[in-house]
């Protein structure tokens, strides 16, 4: 995190469209040069709004946005030199692919020969050599997407924004394009701010992910940290599957606390500083829970009631009633075949306190 140039910086940025409701609240975020940062969050959480403020189409209600340290408050969009890929591509339908790509170069008064050469290079980058003459309407969704990316890169901006660029593609194409975008970004070393509400996409592509929720950033971290060490219940459930238990702290011993969920006492790893009597949210990943462990192996062991079993090929999803939750899911690898557990069985489960993270409850943060 240190030693690199800060490319984009949001400092205390607020945004309200109607003058009352803040859709972006006190946003602080730094993007390093050459970094691939993803804004991830549910629909309506303010991701597009942030991008629009960065591109210059919306003005922040409060706070400052800086690019390479200079505030861009007074800079119009066309002078920001930011490549932008819109969700629905926004390829000009009446112009050919070549003309679409040439447009940003022509308005920069680059001479004809240079334009042709750069257009060709940009198309080669997205592996669409020879498509200059086609109209956007004559391309497949994935090809249009590549053209949109090529157009955002052709004038060699140092910063590229992408707003859910793969939203309209099917899953196979999405995965292929995720890889392509990543490859291109690495090749050129541009800074990318990427928006998606698909957590798998965010995990697969990003150097860091900023998780948005209701106009706020919940956590900014590399994907594996978000997964392994979520700081909030929202992040814990938004990134991958997680089981949440709710309880009160009975006692604390260094990093480990004991929490009372109403029916059981669970030992958990304390992420946030919590004292005795505080309310906590406990998060346990379904795949970190063992079914019928050897007795005494885990310090958290409970009796559970099997409510439902879903067979998913390589693994089973088992829904349990345990520790005051009726929706506790565990994943068991399909190593023994069908019939390892049956519905209405009573089983034992176990997990280590290190895999059970005690977080600050979401609602408490809202009040604060």
């Amino acid at each position: 995190m240190s030693g690199k140039t800060v490319h984009v910086e949001f400092e205390g940025v607020n945004k309200s469209y109607d003058g009352r409701k803040l859709v972006v609240r006190d946003l602080n975020l730094r993007v390093e040069e050459g970094e691939f940062l993803t804004l991830l969050g549910p629909s309506g959480s303010g991701k597009t709004t942030c991008l629009m403020m960065l591109a210059g189409f919306e003005d922040p209600t409060g706070g400052v946005i800086r690019i390479f340290g200079d505030s861009v408050g007074k800079v119009p969009p066309r002078r920001r030199n930011i490549g932008m890929v819109f969700q629905n591509y926004a390829l000009f339908p009446h112009l050919s692919v070549g003309e679409n790509l040439a447009y940003p170069l022509e308005v920069r008064r680059i001479e004809r020969a240079g334009v042709v050469e750069r257009v060709r290079r940009a198309l080669r980058l997205v592996r669409l050599e020879g498509f200059e003459g086609r109209r956007p309407g004559e391309l497949s969704g994935g090809q249009q997407q590549r053209v949109a990316i090529a157009r955002a890169l052709v004038f060699e901006p140092r910063l590229v924004l992408m707003d859910e660029p793969l939203g309209a593609l099917d899953r196979r194409l999405r995965e292929e394009m995720q890889y392509e975008i990543r490859r291109i970004q690495r090749t050129l070393g541009v800074t990318v701010v990427y928006v998606t509400h698909d957590q798998q996409e965010a995990m697969a592509m990003s150097d860091r992910v900023a998780v948005f929720n209701r106009g706020r950033i919940e956590q900014v971290a590399p994907p594996e940290v978000l997964y392994e060490e979520p700081e909030r219940g929202f992040v814990a459930t938004f990134i991958g599957d997680n089981n949440l238990l709710f309880g009160r702290v009975l006692g604390v011993e260094r990093d480990i606390c004991e929490a009372d969920t109403g029916t059981d006492v669970v030992k958990a790893f304390l992420v946030a500083p919590r004292g005795v009597g505080d309310r906590v949210t406990l998060a346990i990943r379904p795949e970190r829970v063992a079914l019928d462990p050897e007795p005494g192996r885990y310090s958290n062991e409970f009796e559970a009631q099997v409510d439902d079993i879903a067979f998913l090929g390589d693994h089973l999803r088992v829904r349990l009633t345990v520790c005051g939750s009726t929706d506790f899911v565990i994943k068991i690898a399909n190593t023994v075949g069908h019939g390892a557990v049956l519905e209405d069985d009573r089983v034992r489960i176990g997990f280590t306190p290190l895999d059970c993270r005690a977080l600050v409850p979401d609602e408490e943060r809202e009040e604060g």
């Binding site: 119009p76 819109f86 000009f92 308005v107």
Partner: protein
């Protein structure tokens, strides 16, 4: 098995037949309405422009005999006899006026000749030997009485041109009206020549109509485009309000609107008063802005503006805002973005609006009639004149036909250039 298949085929056939029957029944009332109020009158009008049965019906026998006349020298006595008889009959059945008018158009002065002849023939009355068909086509016989009688009434009966004119006027189908409408004329011997420049009326008028319509179309585009853009960019509520304002002229009576223009533009009107009061104009040189071409153009532009704004708006509304955003974020100024990205995408609307305004303008009648004065008249005013005052319906129909040809030609050109299927009318 084959029986079953045939059965299924038949029932499929009959169900599709029923469906199309139902569709036809649904549109039948409209079809009937259009047929009665549009196709039939249009057809009869177009027929009228080439069909001229008056003379042929009134002088059948004369014409039949004339057909075998070689046009050298004078026709035979049989022709004179038949003519005398049929002119008398025409006078009795009161068709002589129309007949004389038609013949007179081919050779002026013949109207007087015919009516004088008819009058005098009545005083002579019929004679025995009126019917002598066996003499038809015989060489001229100076001794026969009918010829002398007619020659005695008017010298014109002794001129071959008179008979040529009658023969020509007797043709049932004629291109005469179209020639007339194109400022061409046919001499009695059948040659087509252009009218001398000072007598040309319709072609210059048609030219002026096309030019004025073009000017009005351009004006509407220049005035309507920014308005349509504004409406398309406005949030829905405001857009509806603005659209309402655009449509107000539609809902105001034409007479009220026209009168308002008169109040504004006449020489003692509001605009002139303001200009004089502001000292921009002397009291004696007030501008003539109405009862001339200016008045026609101003009032028509106002009337036709909605026909430009609506198609433009409907096209602009479908252009998502992110195109312009993309164009500016890619580095274009507003003007560059507009020229390269927005304007080309509105072309179907521009085309539709222009075509609509232009076609409406070249056929526009009421506004020029009210505020056009003497110099602000268009071709349709001439059509109205021939319909209502000169009662030359054939010519009116021919002018209308000409206008129709212009519109269709324009449409085809437009189709070639822009493509009608790309056009959006609203």
């Amino acid at each position: 098995m084959p029986g079953v298949i045939a059965e299924a085929g038949r029932s499929r056939l009959s169900s599709s037949f029923l469906r199309s029957l139902k569709a036809w029944l649904l549109v039948l009332p409209l079809l009937a309405f259009i047929g009665v109020t549009f196709i039939v009158p249009l057809g009869s009008m177009l027929t009228r422009s080439v069909h001229a049965p008056v003379v042929a019906d009134a002088l059948p026998e004369t014409l039949a005999l004339l057909r075998s006349w070689d046009a050298a020298g004078l026709p035979g006595e049989a022709v004179y006899a038949a003519a005398a008889r049929e002119i008398r009959t025409a006078r009795e059945t009161r068709t002589l006026g129309q007949v004389a008018t038609r013949i007179n158009r081919l050779k002026s002065g013949l109207r007087g000749v015919l009516s004088r002849t008819a009058r005098q023939l009545r005083s002579i009355g019929p004679r025995p030997g009126d019917h002598e068909p066996e003499r038809a086509g015989q060489p001229p016989d100076d001794a026969t009485p009918w010829r002398d009688t007619l020659l005695g009434i008017d010298d014109a009966w002794g001129e071959a041109d008179t008979w040529l004119a009658i023969r020509r006027a007797g043709e049932r189908f004629t291109a005469r009206h179209y020639l007339n409408a194109l400022d061409l004329t046919q001499s009695v011997d059948g040659g087509v020549v252009a009218q001398p420049p000072e007598l040309r009326i319709y072609l210059p008028l048609l030219g002026r109509t096309l030019l004025v319509s073009l000017a009005i179309t351009v004006l509407c585009l220049v005035l309507g485009y920014p308005v349509a853009y504004l409406i398309a960019q406005a949030p829905p509520k405001r857009a509806n309000l603005l659209l309402l304002l655009v449509l107000v002229p539609f809902w105001t009576s034409l007479l009220v609107r026209t009168t308002s223009w008169i109040v504004l533009l006449q020489s003692q009107g509001v605009v002139n008063d303001l200009l004089v009061a502001a000292g921009l104009l002397g009291d004696e040189d007030r501008l003539a802005m109405i009862y001339n071409m200016t008045g026609t153009m101003v009032a028509m532009t106002h009337v036709l503006l909605p026909f430009m704004v609506l198609p433009l708006y409907s096209v602009m509304r479908t252009i998502p805002p992110h195109y312009m955003r993309a164009a500016t974020s890619l580095g274009g100024t507003f003007f560059q973005a507009f020229r390269r990205v927005y304007w080309p995408q509105t072309l179907p609307g521009v085309g539709a609006g222009s075509l609509l305004v232009f076609i409406l303008a070249i056929g526009y009648y009421i506004t020029p009639a009210l505020v056009g004065g003497r110099t602000g008249q268009l071709i349709s005013n001439m059509i109205a004149y021939h319909m209502q005052q000169s009662l030359n319906w054939g010519l009116a129909a021919a002018l209308g036909g000409l206008l129709l040809v212009c519109v269709v030609a324009l449409y085809l050109v437009f189709d070639r250039l822009v493509g009608v299927d790309r056009m959006r009318l609203g």
